[in-house]
């Protein structure tokens, strides 16, 4: 091969390497949408430092841009990022040994909404080998809408343990919200709707067999 061909081959390989590492570049481009230089710089430093600490940065970038959308100043955004990172690290412990970025973000959101931490680790224990983003989200929403956290945690945990799917839990949440809009208390609505879903679930023995890896 001629020297120029060799150089072209090398250039192509380097281009491929750059393209394959595009994730970080995309994140950088998103940060460029922050118009204020000082705010952008503070966010960038925080995100880069978080990356070095091993924290997934995508939820942090998203939270920073949420702050921009809500016209928060740099200090407030930085405080929000610090709080989110702290919650994500706690979420990581609760979801160990497996967690996706979406699960971590969902669990961090749950912690922010005062979902009991034990409830999150209970959900992971029930489903150690599949994503539980939806289940955590339903639990968070129930608590955020006024269901007593311990009751919501027990109901969702029991439903999951009996084999309720994420889709069934989402339907349950929607039904509870409708009942609340009609004047039923969140607690009553949840108890009522949980009974309804329970009646559709298979016996415990077949659930245990299905959840085995």
């Amino acid at each position: 091969m001629s020297p120029r061909t060799n150089n072209l081959l090398l250039g192509a390989a380097l281009c491929a390497a750059m393209v394959s590492a595009h994730g970080v570049g995309a994140q950088e481009a998103r940060l460029l949408s922050i118009r204020d230089d000082a705010t952008r710089n503070r966010v960038r430093i925080f995100v880069e430092a978080a990356r070095l600490r091993g924290t997934p940065t995508e939820p942090l970038v998203s939270r920073a841009l949420e702050g921009i959308a809500f016209k928060a100043d740099a200090k407030r955004i930085e405080q929000a990022l610090a709080a989110l990172e702290k919650r994500m690290r706690r979420a990581k412990e609760l979801l160990a040994p497996h967690a996706t970025v979406d699960e971590l973000a969902a669990a961090a959101d749950a912690i922010a909404n005062r979902v009991p931490e034990k409830a999150i680790s209970d959900l992971r224990r029930i489903a150690p080998r599949r994503t539980i983003t939806v289940e955590i989200g339903v639990l968070t929403e129930l608590v955020a809408k006024g269901v007593k956290p311990s009751v919501a945690a027990t109901m969702v945990r029991d439903l999951m343990a009996k084999g309720a799917t994420g889709a069934q839990l989402t339907e349950l949440n929607a039904a509870v919200q409708q009942d609340v809009a009609l004047g039923v208390t969140p607690m009553e609505a949840l108890v009522l709707r949980t009974r309804g879903v329970m009646s559709l679930l298979p016996p415990a023995a077949s659930v245990n067999a299905a959840q085995r890896p």
Partner: protein, 201 residues
Amino acid sequence: MIGNMVDTMDDERDEVIARVVGALSPFPQPRSAAVARVLMAVRARRAQPVSRLRRAIWWAEDTAVSAKAAGLLAAASLAIGFVARGTMTQQATFGGAESASIEMQPVASVSSAVPVAMAFELANAKTVSVVGDFNGWDPAANPMQRVGANGPWSTTLLAKPGRHTYAFLVDGTTLVADPRASKAKNPDFGGDASVLMVRTP
């Protein structure tokens, strides 16, 4: 006598080494924020595309690389790229030594996004877009189109199963919560957002 001189030189060398080690070892662990600043400064210096391109062209014309060297470098570049891609796109691992225990879910078990239709009625708006955690609060990601001359605004977006918060960005400046959706308090930034629950397909 020569033996004594050698011993003396050895002692002096040991002493110098000990002083160097002593001078270097008390360095504290760098703070991650400081390391981040340095990395960003380096990255900023590297990100000067015109001069980099000029240097690359000059190098390509004047430098001959052997086929073996080019092949090795190409293979190394691809390997680095794919390792970097795996690290950067998965990102769920807390890579620090203190948190090395967490593992990634297999990719197949990670939920993929599903289409969600959105509608919003606001007659006076000139532009409306949906912003939320599903699109990184990016105003350009999901612009809405008006249905008819004075009809509602609508769009279809992609969101992963789970709980999301969102709002409508009206005329590029004002955030408005969805009047037909459940509200979510925003403890970090104040103001109300709306909740979108996306079910597993």
